[in-house]
Amino acid sequence: MIFFPSDVFVVMAAVGATLSIATSSSTQSVSLWDFLTLDMSKSVIVSMEIPFASADTVFRSYKIMPRSENAHAYVNAAFVMQFNSSTSTVTGEPTLVFGGIQAHDIQATQTAAMLEGANLLQKDTLTTALAKLEGEIVPVTTPVSSSAKYLKSLAISLFYKYYLAVIYDHVDPRVQSAAVPFQRPLSTGTQTYGTKPSEYPVTEPMTKLTALLQTSGEAEYTTDVPPLPHECAAAFVLSPQANCKITGVDFSTAEGMPGFIKGLTAADIPGDNNFMTMGTAEPVLVSDVCEYAGQAVAIVVAETQRQADEIALAVKVSYESQGKPLLTIADAIAAGSYFEDPGRQPIEVGDAKAAIAKSARTVEGTISCDSQYHFHMETQTSLVIPEAEGYMVYSSTQWTQRTQAAVAAVLGINNSSVDVSVRRVGGAYGGKITRSHWIAAACGLAAHATGRPVRMHLDIDTNMKMIGKRIPYYATFTIGCTEDGILNGIEATVYNNCGWCNNDNALGMALDHIDNAYYVPNWLVTPKACKTNIAANTATRSPGTCPGIFIMEGMIDQVARTLGLDPDTVRRANLYKKDQVTPIDIPLTYCNISTLWDDLYSSAEVESRKAAAAKFNEENRWRKRGLSVVPVRFWMEWGWAVPYTVHINIYAADGTVAICHGGVEVGQGINTKVAQVAAKTLGIPLDTISVKPSNTLIGPNDITTGGSITSELCCLGTLRACNELNERISPVRAANPKATWKELVAACNDQGVNLSVENFVEEKTDYQYSYNAYGVGCTEVEIDVLTGELQILRVDILYDCGDSINPDIDVGQVEGAFTMGLGYWLTEKLIFDQDSGQLLTHNTWEYKPPASKDIPIDFRIALLRDAPNPIGILGTKGVGEPPLCLSCSALFAIKRAIENFRAEIKADTVFTLDGPATVEITQQDCLVDPSEFYF
C-alpha cells in the first residue's frame, strides 16, 4: 500500500474545496472526497474552488514531519470550525481532517458531530472530544511508517493543539505555547579563530583554490568527463532477496529492450571475482550464495545510462530462500552469528570486576546507535576506457591505488596496465574508500567485455541498496562508581553490525575510543562483531570513533541519571588530567580537555542558560528545553595512514609549480592547504601553484584519504619536498641574489638543477607519533512534547585545531561534520523489510539528511587560539571527524528535555535514549497521555 499524506489535500478538504474536472465533452464539480475514487482517465483537473469563510471561522493546519522541511508528514491535519467567542460555543459542525493515519485522509466525523454546539470552555467538552477522537483514529501502518501508537497519539495531540488555539485567551498560560507552532527566528552564527600573519599564506583564512571553478559549473567530477566515441553505460542487477541461493539470471526480456548491448554475470569475469584486494573476498557479482538483498548479481551494458538502469530492472533473478535473514544486532545475538575475529582483542586494564564489586554504586544499562547513509551528492561513479596497453580508469574514489588493484585483479591483468585518476570527488565521507573499487571493477569488466569505454553512475536507489553504510553499535555495560559519580571500573560488551562481511569493521577503533575523554582505572571491554544479512557496512565519517565515544557518553550519562546527579558535573569530574594514560596506553602529555571544558562552560554561559531553561520549563507544560555538554578526545593516529607521495615540478619556462599528491580532494580542501604550504615554503605567490588530479603514476602505493589526517600528511610531504627544492636552488640563489623567482628557476635549469622532486611520507619518520585532538560542544534544544518536534536553539563548539593551516576551511569542516552528525542522531534512519531483507528507505522520500532549517538557530564555532600542536605538522591538528562526535550533545540535550517532562508527570526519569532520537522517538519517550490534556 502506498501512503501519500498530501498536504494540499488535507488543507483543501478541510475548507471544503471542490474540483472542476473536465473531459473533452463535459465538466463536473466534485468534492475532494469524491475525487479520491473518481476515474480520471481522459480527464483533467481544470480548477479548484475554495469557499469563503465566515468571520468567526477558526482554521488551523498542522504538519509533523521527520525534519524541518521538504519531508512528507508523519501526520498532517487541518481543522475548521465556526466559533462564537462571546458564548464560547461551536456553531455548526466542525471539519476535522487527518492525513497519514490511513492510505487516504480521514475525517473525524463523530468527534465533529459531538462538538457541534458544544461550549469549549467546559472541561468535559475537551475530555469527551478526546475520547471520541481516540475511538475514531485507527491507524493503518506500513513497514516504513511510524508506529500506530505514535500516529494515534500525534493525531490526538494535534487536535488538542487546535482546541487550545481556538480558546487561546482562556487557557492556562503554561499550556499556551502548545497552541503556537515553532517559529524559527533569524539564524545567527559566529566563527572565531586566531591566525599568524607572519606565516601567511599558512594559517591564512582563505576559500578553496578551485572555488571559482566550482561556482561557475566548470569543475569536473568523474561523471562530467566528456563522453568518448563509442562510450556505453552499465548498471547493476540487484538481488531482491537476502540470504538466498541464486538459481538463475534471465536476460531474455532485457535483450529485447532498446540499447541493450550485453548482460554479464560472474562467469564472464576473466580474473578474480573479488573487488577487495585485501581481507575477505567480496564478489563483484554473486553467482551462488547471496548474502543480502541489494547484492549485485549481474551487470547490464547499454548505449546510455538510462537504458542500462531500465534494463537492469527487467533482468529476472530467481532464487531459493535460505531462511529468514538476520538484519539487526539483536537478530545476530539471538542467532549467535558473530565473526570469529571481532577486529580487536578485548581491553583489559586493572581488574574491572573487582573494582565494580568494591564500588559504592553500580550502574547497569545498554546504549545503541544505528546506521547512516553517506549521502554523498555524487553517487558512486566510474569511467573505464580500454586503451592499447591497458585501461584508463576515472573513479570517484578516496583510494586510487586499491582501485587500480581491484580493476587489475578482476580483469586478471597487471596493475601496471591500469591507470587510475581522480581530480575531485563530489562527497565521500568514507563511502568511497573501499566501496568505490567495486564500481570501478564492474566498469572494467564491462569495458573488457565490450571493448568500449564504459561509464557507471549509480542511481540513488542502487547506491543505497547495494552499498554498505555506517556500522550500527550496541553495548551492554556495568559500571562501578562512587556516590559522587567518580568512575572506578567499567565492564562492557560492544557489539556492532558489520553486515555480511567484516572487511571494513571498525570495532577496534570503537574500543580505542571507548574512554572518550574520561579517566577510568579499570576496564574490561569485549568486542563482538555481528554477521548479518545486510550489505557489508563500511567507513562513514568518524567510523568506530563516533560510536565508541557515544557509548562512553551514554554510559556516563546513565551514571549521572541513576545517581541523581547533574550529568555535566559527573562528566567534568571524570575528565582526563594531563599525563594520565588511556586504556590503550596512550600518554596524554598535552591533555587540555578540562581547560577547554571550563572555557566553553564560561563562554557559552552554560550555567545561566541552564537556569533560564529550568525557568522556561516551569512556565511551559508542553514545551521543554534541555542543554548538554559533551567533550571529545580523538586519537589521531598516523601509523596506519601512510604512505603518501608528494611530487612537485617547477616549470623553468615561467616558474609556475605543479603538485601531485596521494591524497584525494573530496571537498575537505586538501589541495588548497597543500598549495598554501608550498607557496609559503618556496616563497612564491599562491596563484603560481596548481594541484593536479591524484593518480596511480605518482602515488603508486598510497593509502586512502581518510582518518582526518591526510591533509596534514600531504602538507608534510609538500613541506619536505619544497625544502629539498630550496636546498637545490640555494647555491644558485646565493650567486644571483637579485634574481626574480622566474629568473632564478631558469638559471637553475640552465645549470642542470633538478626542479622536480618527490617526497615519500611514511611512518618511520619524525612524525611517527600520534596525538589527540580535543573539543567541547554544548547544544541547547527545545522540544514540543506533544509532537516530538525539535528546535536546536544554540550550539557552541570550542575545538582545538592547533594552528589551523586554513581557518576558513577548518571551520567549514567543524560545521559540516557537526551537521552531518545532527542528521545521524536526529533524522536519518534505515528500515529493512523483515522477510526479504530489502532496504525500504532507499531514496529521498523516506531518508532525511538535515536541510537548511535543521541546523542550529545560533551556531557558534571557535577554534582554540594560540595552541600550536607540539607534535603536529606545522602545529596543526586534524578536524574532519572529531566535531561529528560532539553532535551527540544534541541527543543528550533532548534527553534532558524529556527527563524534565517525565519528572513533571512523575514518570521514571532514568531511561535510555538511543540514536537516532527522531521526532517520533522523542514524543514517545515523553509518555504523553491525553488524559492529562487540560486548559
Binding site: G217, Y221, M377, H457, I460, G812, T819
Partner: protein, 157 residues
C-alpha cells in the same frame, strides 16, 4: 521509439533536436547541450543539484521533461555570468566558503538566483526558505546562507 522535435534555448544558444518524450531536461542539458555544470544528485527532486531556470523560474531539471521546456529559455550555472564577470552569487559562494565538495553548488546558486530575482533583499529566514529544496552534505549550510546574503547586498537589494 517515437521522438519529438524540440527547440530549446540554453544559455542563449538554441538547440534543435529530436528527443524521447520521456527524456528529462537534466539529460538534455548534460548530453544534448553538453553542459555538465548541472548535476544529478538524488534523481528524485529532493537534493536540488539539478536546479536551472526555465524562462527565469527555477525548476528541478531532474523532474522536468525536455518536452516541457520546448520553446523556452533555460539558464544553467554556465550561463549565469555575463561572460566577463562572475554573477554576484558566484562571487559570494566563492568568497564566503559556501562550498566544500562543490557538487551541490551549481544547484544552490541557481535556486538562489531565483530567490534573489523575486526578492532582492531576503532575510536569512527567507534565504533558508528559498533554499529548502536544496541539500548540502558538506557545509552545514551556514556559509551558504551567508553567501546568498552577501550576494543580495552586492546586487544592491
Amino acid at each position: 521509439i517515437v521522438k519529438v522535435p524540440v527547440d530549446i534555448t540554453v544559455n542563449g544558444r538554441t538547440y534543435s533536436d529530436e528527443v524521447e518524450p520521456r527524456q528529462l531536461l537534466v539529460h538534455f542539458i548534460r548530453e544534448n547541450a553538453a553542459l555538465t555544470g548541472t548535476k544529478v544528485g538524488c534523481d528524485t527532486s529532493q537534493c536540488g543539484s539539478c536546479t536551472v531556470t526555465m524562462d527565469r523560474v527555477s525548476v528541478k531539471s531532474c523532474t522536468t521533461l525536455t518536452v516541457q521546456a520546448n520553446g523556452s529559455s533555460i539558464t544553467t550555472i554556465e550561463g549565469l555570468s555575463d561572460g566577463v564577470d562572475l554573477h554576484p552569487l558566484q562571487e559570494a559562494f566563492w568568497n564566503n566558503h559556501g562550498l566544500q565538495c562543490g557538487f551541490c553548488t551549481p544547484g544552490m546558486i541557481m535556486a538562489a538566483s531565483e530567490l534573489l530575482r523575486i526578492n532582492p533583499d531576503p532575510s536569512r529566514e527567507e534565504i533558508r526558505e528559498g533554499l529548502e529544496g536544496n541539500l548540502c552534505r558538506c557545509t552545514g549550510n551556514q556559509n551558504i546562507v551567508l553567501a546568498v546574503e552577501d550576494a543580495a547586498r552586492t546586487m544592491g537589494g
